[in-house]
């Protein structure tokens, strides 16, 4: 019984892993990058590079909110919603956006503008780009497909990941025994060690991120508890959970709103010293106009922001939410906070990033190991089957192709002309076109030589990225370091580090290739 259990778990681990490993690699890769999504977005937006952080950030907010709301009142009195995103530690610009009124049921488009909080002037020359948000969306919405379908696919893959993790712990009885073992240059053994090491070292992270990842989509996956408890299902449940989410329609009756400054002052007399994250005003100049103040949760393990809702016409406090969470809410919301990692200060953010990379290594080494094992079992005169060829091609296309495609996305950001129409979409198309090219290359052949060539390509692309950045923008790595722009400097340094990583891989592959050539040569000699 016990033996049988281990055997079935091994079987489960292998096949659930192999079935979804490429999709999982994409999810983990994009998800790991999205821990730095605001940093990537900053890099992608040279106009925002020189915005200085505020010295007294929280104290300056009161003035900023009034200015931004007054600006919107002048610019977009007809809008459906106004949105003011205040500067924070990771993002020094201020978003002053609005959503246009839509026609008959179709929601209007967002018009995004950004302000320098120091000079309180609109930042011009903002380029049309998705930046880090692309990777964020990619890791659960995929691309070129319906959102709901994509999320179901991603959830399915995540479930298999969770199953793979648990069965993996079960089958490696000795997993904690060999935990520090890494035997290099031993063929399949080395891959197994890399697989074990990368999974064990971040095992709490892997289980946490997979479980909480499923929890973020849980109301799509399991709407049933809400459906049994509420007549209206999820919608009714959320209305009951968070009164601030309730959306009253505009009546269309035009009224004067209170002066913006007075509204903001009123909020601050009630709640001084709150660190505000964003302010949203619904239906400006309508009799239902409401203004919502969202507080920054900082390093608390809480994802839903406390919110206070005021009427913009009378100035009375209508409702507040998320200021005090019950145990169940804390459990659910804490899990989401752990997944999104919005709470993380730079130190923890890097730990998240490293653990995410460990996850990528775990998936990659597992996938490579499967192919290597099958190859090792093959007799010398045997032709590889279709399955093995497919796995090898997909491995090469995903593991080496994704980094190449990522650089393509970054190059597109720097090199596409600013006034190109649909510029943001073009960047994304270029990402996928590049990936497709690598895939075609990998389908053609996926041997050690092709791995080496793609590693070379990666070295060149990642190394040239900081240079391309220096040529196309005002700053470069040295100026970033001198002016203490750590985010931008970090981006360049990480590119160089990645290039260095691929360089090591290239050298290893080159020696391996040489050994293979000598090996086959000797074999041929013996045969003749």
């Amino acid at each position: 019984m016990k033996e049988n259990f281990f055997r079935s778990m091994t079987w489960l681990h292998t096949w659930t892993g192999l079935l979804v490993c490429w999709l999982l690699f994409l999810i983990f890769f994009a998800g790991t990058l999205s821990f730095f999504r605001h940093e990537i977005t900053l890099w992608a937006q040279p106009a925002a590079h020189d915005v200085q952080p505020q010295l007294n950030r929280v104290a300056a907010q009161r003035q900023q909110i009034s200015t931004a709301l007054e600006h919107l009142a002048m610019k977009a009195p007809e809008a459906e919603t106004w949105w003011v995103g205040l500067p924070n530690e990771r993002n020094h610009t201020m978003a002053v956006s609005y959503r246009e009124k839509g026609d008959d049921g179709v929601r209007g488009k967002w018009q995004d503008n950004y302000m320098d909080p120091n000079s309180q002037s609109i930042l011009a020359e903002y380029r049309d780009t998705k930046g880090g948000h692309f990777f964020y969306r990619l890791h659960f919405d995929l691309h070129y497909m319906d959102r709901t379908v994509a999320r179901w696919i991603v959830s399915f893959a995540s479930l298999f990941m969770l199953i793979g993790l648990i069965s993996g712990v079960v089958i490696h009885k000795r997993i904690f025994k060999d935990m520090f073992q890494f035997r290099s240059a031993k063929g399949v053994r080395t891959w197994l060690d890399a697989h074990n090491l990368s999974s064990v070292l971040a095992l709490p992270f892997h289980i946490m991120i997979t479980y909480t990842g499923l929890v973020t989509l849980i109301f799509m996956l399991f709407p049933y508890p809400a459906m049994t408890q509420y007549e209206g299902g999820n919608r009714a449940f959320f209305a009951d959970l968070n009164s601030a989410r309730q959306h009253a329609d505009a009546t269309g009756k035009q009224v004067e709103m209170l002066p913006m400054k007075q509204l903001v002052d009123q909020f601050y007399t009630n709640w001084p010293n709150v660190d505000i994250k964003r302010v949203i005003l619904d239906h400006p100049f309508d009799e239902t106009a409401i203004v919502k103040f969202y507080a920054n949760t900082g390093t608390q393990v809480q994802d839903e922001m406390p919110v206070w809702v005021y009427s913009a016409v009378t100035g009375e406090l209508k409702t507040s939410a998320n200021t005090d969470l019950s145990p169940s809410e804390t459990l659910y919301d804490g899990m989401i906070a752990l997944h999104t990692g919005r709470l993380a200060l730079p130190g923890l953010r890097w730990l998240y990033f490293i653990c995410g990379i460990a996850g990528c290594v775990m998936i990659a080494s597992g996938a490579v190991m499967w192919a290597k094992r099958i190859r090792a079992r093959m007799k010398s005169n045997e032709q590889p089957g279709f399955g093995l060829k497919l796995v090898e091609a997909l491995n090469l296309a995903t593991l080496m192709g994704l980094p190449v495609a990522t650089t393509a996305f970054f190059y597109a950001n720097r090199l596409l002309p600013n006034d190109l129409s649909n510029r943001a979409d073009m960047e994304v198309h270029l990402f996928f076109v590049t990936w497709l090219c690598v895939t075609v290359f990998a389908i053609y052949r996926a041997g050690t030589k092709q791995w080496k060539q793609l590693a070379q390509l990666n070295v060149i692309l990642w190394l040239l990225l900081p240079i391309c950045n220096a040529l196309t923008t005002q700053g470069n790595l040295i100026s970033y370091l001198l002016e203490q722009q750590w985010i931008l400097a970090g981006f360049d340094l990480l590119c160089i580090l990645t290039a260095f990583g691929f360089f090591i891989q290239m050298n290893k592959l080159a020696t391996q290739e040489k050994a293979n050539v000598v090996g086959t040569f000797k074999l041929k000699e013996r045969n003749t």
């Binding site: 935990m179 520090f180 890494f182 290099s184 709490p204 992270f205 730990l351 490293i354």
Partner: protein
């Protein structure tokens, strides 16, 4: 500073876990694990690990808990790298780690 102490304790714990394994002990000290010493090291390892959890939780609550998971990951990466490429360097840890921990403690108290 408190978090540094938590990390050092976590690292100490995992070094002990690693060194009571025969294969690693041989690589570092070129001899087998002594049974009595091994048992003591195991105890130290668990105590240090628990102390590390308590310190990081006490300092930063939930945030500290997440940090602790990160510390474990970093400790294992460091140890795995050291053990596979420079195992003899680990010998100096016997002196370095207690010194670092005590200096951090003194720094905290002052």
């Amino acid at each position: 500073m408190t978090q540094l102490l938590a990390f050092l304790l976590c690292f100490t714990s995992f070094s002990c876990f690693a060194l009571i394994k025969n294969s690693h002990c041989k690589a570092v000290f070129a001899k087998r694990v002594d049974a009595v010493l091994g048992r003591r090291m195991l105890m130290i390892a668990w105590c240090a690990l628990i102390a590390s959890v308590i310190i990081s939780l006490w300092d930063l609550a939930g945030y500290g808990g997440v940090l602790f998971c990160g510390y474990m990951a970093i400790s294992i990466i460091l140890l795995a790298l050291l053990l596979s490429y420079h195992p003899t360097k680990l010998r100096s840890l016997i002196y370095v780690l207690p010194t670092l921990i005590s200096t951090t403690c003194i720094g905290l108290l002052l």
